[in-house]
Symmetry: C2
Amino acid sequence: MVGRNYMRDRKARLMRRLDSVTEVGPREREALEDLAIRVGSLAPGQDVIRAYQPPQECCVVFEGILHRYQLLPDGSRQILAFHVPGDIPDLQSLGLGVMDHSVAASVACTVGYFSHADINRLIERHPGVAKLLWRVSLIEAAGLRAWLTSMGRRPAVAHVAHLVCELFVRLRAVGLTTGMRCSLPLTQTHFADALGLSLVQVNRSLNALRRKGLFELSRGQLVIHDWPGLKSMAGFDPAYLHLRKEWSLG
Amino acid sequence: MVGRNYMRDRKARLMRRLDSVTEVGPREREALEDLAIRVGSLAPGQDVIRAYQPPQECCVVFEGILHRYQLLPDGSRQILAFHVPGDIPDLQSLGLGVMDHSVAASVACTVGYFSHADINRLIERHPGVAKLLWRVSLIEAAGLRAWLTSMGRRPAVAHVAHLVCELFVRLRAVGLTTGMRCSLPLTQTHFADALGLSLVQVNRSLNALRRKGLFELSRGQLVIHDWPGLKSMAGFDPAYLHLRKEWSLG
DNA sequence: CGCCTAGTTGACCAGGTTCAACAACGGTGG
DNA sequence: CCACCGTTGTTGAACCTGGTCAACTAGGCG
C-alpha cells in the first residue's frame, strides 16, 4: 500500500531524529513503530498549538518547519525555536498540560499527531521511552540556553551566523542536507523575530555574511561556502545540541 | 538532635518547592523524605557544577542563590537562570550526562547533594517521582522561554522590571518573602549579565524604576511599593512559572 | 585608616531601529 | 501572454537606545 510506505518513511524521520541524540533500544524502537499517528498538513502561518489551550495530542514534524512563538502586548512577536522534521514540538504539553506559548507552521508542513493517552501508555510500559523523551526535552532546554546566550551577548552578525549554523547542523542530523547545501525556506522576518533584531538589520547581516563568502541564502536555499569561517564568526559550538558523534558536524 | 532538625527544615524547603508546582502524593513524599542528602556550603562565586564535566551528584539549593552561566570566548558572561531555595539546578545532568554550562553560587549558599544513583533508584521505584522531576524541568524550560522573550523584545527598563517580578514571585512561592519585601542579595553585575545589559544601564533602569515608585532594591533588600504598576510595566504574566493557584501572586 | 567592592553619574559614541522608497519575484486573472 | 498585485528582499538616512569610558561616592572590613 502506498499509504503504508508513506507512513513508514515519515516515521523513519522521527526515528532518525531520536537516533541522532540517543541509542534507541530494539524494544523501544518497536513500541514507537507501533504508535498510531494521524497525518495532517498545515498552511504557512497556521497555528498547531495555541497558548493557554490544553492539547490532547502531541505532534511530530514530518516535512517543513514550525516555530514556537510568543506575542507581546505591543504586537511584536518573539520566536523561541524552530522545529525541523523529526522534532516533537509540544512535549511540554505532555508533562505540563498548559501551553504558555503557541506553535505555528513557518511554511507549508506535514505533521503527525498522536494522542497523549497513547504515548502515556507507552511511557508506562517502556521506561526507556520516558527516558528518551525526557532527554529530548532536556536537549530542547539546552538549545534555549544557547539561544539566550547568543541573544544577550553576541552582536547582530554573529547572532545571525549562529542561527544559520544551528539550523544547518540540525537539518544535517536528520538527513536533510546534501553536501554543504540544504533547503531553508524561512523569511528574513522569521529570522528577525527569532533573533530579536529588526528586519532591516537581518537583511544587512545576511548580506555582510554573504559578502564575506561564508554562505548564501536566497530563495529558500542555503549554501555554505566556508564552514570553519562561519563557525568561528558565530562562536558556534554544537555541544549544546547533544548529538551523538557520528551525526555531528566537526 | 539539632542536626536532624536542620535537615528536616531544609528538606521542607525542597518539598515546598515541589508542592508549589504539583500535587505530591503521599508515597512520593515519603520516598523523597528518605533520600540521603549531604549538606555543603559554598562561598560566593564558587562553582558547583562546571561545564563539560559529567557530575555524579545532583544538588538542591537550601539557602542563598545560585546562577547558571556560560562564558563566551571574549570573556563576557551570560547568566541563564537564577536558582532560589528549593530549586534543583542540575536536573539536566541526570538525563543528559554532560553539562554545557556551569552553575555557581551568587552569594554564600548552603546546598544539598544527592547521588545520581539514589535518585535513579527512586525514579525506577516511583514513576510519580519521575513525572514530578520531568515537570520541574519542563517548568525550567518555560522560564527560559519567558526570559528569551524578555531579552529579545523588551526595552531595558521593562526587562529589569520583569526579572524583579519573577524573582519576587519565585521567592514568595517558597515562603521567603514577608509581605511585599524580601532579601535579594544579587549585585547589579549579576543583573547585567543575566539581562544582557551593561552594568551602567542596569543601574539607570533600577533607579528609574525606584523613582517611579515601583520598588526599591538596596543592600540586598527588595521592597515592592506598587505591584500592579510593576507588573504592567514589565508585562509580567506569571503563567510561565506554572505555580498552582494557591501559591501564585495575582 | 585604607583598601576593596558595589553603586552612581556624566559625556561621548556606536550598533541597531525606524521610516521610507524601491526592486525582484511569483501568482492570478483578464 | 502580459498586466497587476502582494509578498519578500534591498538600500539609504535620521534617530535613539543602550554601550563604553572614566571619574567619583558610599559602605564594609581588616
